[in-house]
Amino acid sequence: MRRIPLVLPLGLILVLLFASTALSQMNVRLRVIQASNVGRAVDPSLRDLHGQLGSLFNFTSYRLLRENDLSLYPGLPASIQARPGRFIEVTLVRQYREDAEVRIRVIREGKDILATMVRLSPGRTVLIGGPRHAEWVIIFALSPARY
């Protein structure tokens, strides 16, 4: 029984932290796309984006390199590697109902090439692309996950 007074506040802290993050959490879908003008192949998994990609960009070929569903917790960055030496880091800054502010960093060879803060809401997609590397360019597509 002597241990309960010590453990109670620790347990309370843990539970509060757990509860706060469980309530404030966002699931996003991040796709890493390689676009180029070599060939005319379009990855079937990009069908939902193809129309928009086609109207926005002049590339003829799109290949899905990676697709990840990320669970974002406030202040905790989630990173994925697009290609060796290139990462994208996404951090949930603030959330209100279904809208969220998300900070995005794109890192290449250990240096930030982009830092931005965007708003994500249901149905909205953020595309981050460029610069060109040889014949291709990487495009990150970030959107709230549909469940």
């Binding site: 676009a35 803060m117 909205r124």
Partner: protein, 172 residues
């Protein structure tokens, strides 16, 4: 011979794969002694095996698996960084506490109480937040030139990086 060939052909693959029983092996070998066609089929299967195996084995020799391992390790470490539960667990040295079971009911009661109060607290706090006026892109900081497009109709925001004078892919 033809009837014999058709009955043995089913066993030929098992024989080639060294999966035939002793009886089946004996049957096949007796047949092969007098059948050129089945001998050729067996030889073809051997050539086919080499043709599948050789390019694959050669490809293995060309790869840098040490670099691949570095990527694996990095990815695991990145994933572990966002496992906040593990960080808190190690900071509080919880395994030591978990060995004592007497506090479990006390923490369970606290957990239920905290969940109920925390939910109420967050609902009140979030109502005060104002999101209506937020732009889609609050800021952009980059060593490259940046263009930002927002296409309301398709609910897409594009942030495009490019170098110098080159106006890259975005077509409109």
């Amino acid at each position: 011979m033809k009837d014999s060939c058709s009955s043995v052909s089913r066993l030929l693959e098992k024989y080639f794969d060294q999966e035939a029983t002793d009886k089946e092996r004996s049957l096949v070998e007796d047949h092969l002694a007098g059948c050129l066609s089945c001998q050729d089929t067996l030889e073809w299967m051997g050539d086919f095996r080499d043709s599948v195996k050789t390019p694959v084995k050669m490809a293995v020799q060309k790869e840098d698996f040490e670099r691949a391992w570095q990527n694996i390790r990095r990815e695991i470490q990145l994933q572990e960084k966002s496992s906040w539960w593990k960080s808190i667990q190690s900071w509080l040295d919880l395994p030591r506490f978990f060995r004592k079971k007497v506090w479990v009911p006390a923490v369970a009661v606290v957990a239920i109480f905290a969940l109920l109060t925390t939910q109420v607290f967050f609902e009140e706090a979030s109502e005060e937040a104002s999101y209506g006026a937020l732009p889609d892109v609050e800021y952009v900081d980059s060593s490259y030139n940046v263009m930002v497009y927002a296409i309301e109709k398709s609910k897409i925001t594009v942030i495009w990086l490019f170098e110098g004078q080159e106006m890259e892919a975005p077509s409109s």
